[in-house]
Amino acid sequence: TQLLEQSPQFLSIQEGENLTVYCNSSSVFSSLQWYRQEPGEGPVLLVTVVTGGEVKKLKRLTFQFGDARKDSSLHITAAQPGDTGLYLCAGDRLDTGFQKLVFGTGTRLLVSP
């Protein structure tokens, strides 16, 4: 059972376009994290959101945690080829502890020049 569903699964866009990736669940999470993973490497943490409704910005990336703490979104403005990679959301459930992260299904992003 996949607790965190991401959409879309694949996204191929041109440099300069905007995009949004969604991470949805029927479960409530204490916090939610976004990672980016490149081929042959482990995931790298981009951001952690812990409060319902929280919005965090990291340069051209904007992350939002849903009010009910069941969903999150990642918006990229003016995408660049360097943004190419696998984007993963991950959360820790209230009943399992923050050490046991549940990962989403992943969104593979390709940004072409």
Partner: protein, 116 residues
Amino acid sequence: GAGVSQSPSNKVTEKGKDVELRCDPISGHTALYWYRQSLGQGLEFLIYFQGNSAPDKSGLPSDRFSAERTGGSVSTLTIQRTQQEDSAVYLCASSLGVGLRTDTQYFGPGTRLTVL
């Protein structure tokens, strides 16, 4: 080294053989995690260590999987009698282990296991 290291980077084995995968965490990190990443299942939690103890082994798929950590540092994940469905990338991560929700996990590059 500065980051989490894992060895070997690639492992090809025959069905039924045992394999050992090694993880060297970042120096000073007391928490260590093992995950498995496969095409069909995404990235799934296997086990977590705090020091040498494993408070949560709930993610281990079967009793063929075991892990240990000695000296609060290096960890070994052992898979006995490997099956083809064990083929995946096995990722290790470590964190300070200070008990905060914002405790960042740093991942190694993974070991790609192929069971023929």
